[in-house]
Symmetry: C2
Subunit: 96 residues, 2 copies
Amino acid sequence: MFVLITYDVNTETEAGKKRLRKVAKACQDYGQRVQNSVFECVIDPTRFRFLRARLEKLIDKEKDSLRFYFLGDEWKNRIEHIGAKPSLDITGTLIT
Amino acid sequence: MFVLITYDVNTETEAGKKRLRKVAKACQDYGQRVQNSVFECVIDPTRFRFLRARLEKLIDKEKDSLRFYFLGDEWKNRIEHIGAKPSLDITGTLIT
């Protein structure tokens, strides 16, 4: 499955900056960073449930926001990009 | 149609900060801010083409990144949210 993950982590405090680093690290373990707070993951449902649970534990639900977008099988046709490219393309599946 | 817009604007310079403000303003005119650099737009194709052209002119394509995700008719079933809510819900269509 294809899941787009976007997040806003409140970094006003040191604890927030730490949460941000941990959220980014967790996403990096499972997906491709396409923008600063945007990751695209091609992931099986079991691993996704694990990642979601991990992220849910990491964030402060009062201060931080996580959104997941499930693009379905036709995900390659659902993405369009303009401008600077992400620095890294591990999977080769990234739409540029 | 439903379009998710995400952007990274390089704000190392004053010109970059100005671009960021203009990009955010353009997106606000057409959609719902759900995170700092993430907007959800329920928009007809003609208006979307206009918005895309406007954004394309605003960004520096060497430094900034714009991504569009077209979620299709089933978009309400394709979104999941965890954590803090966006401050504003104009349309009532936002998935929280």
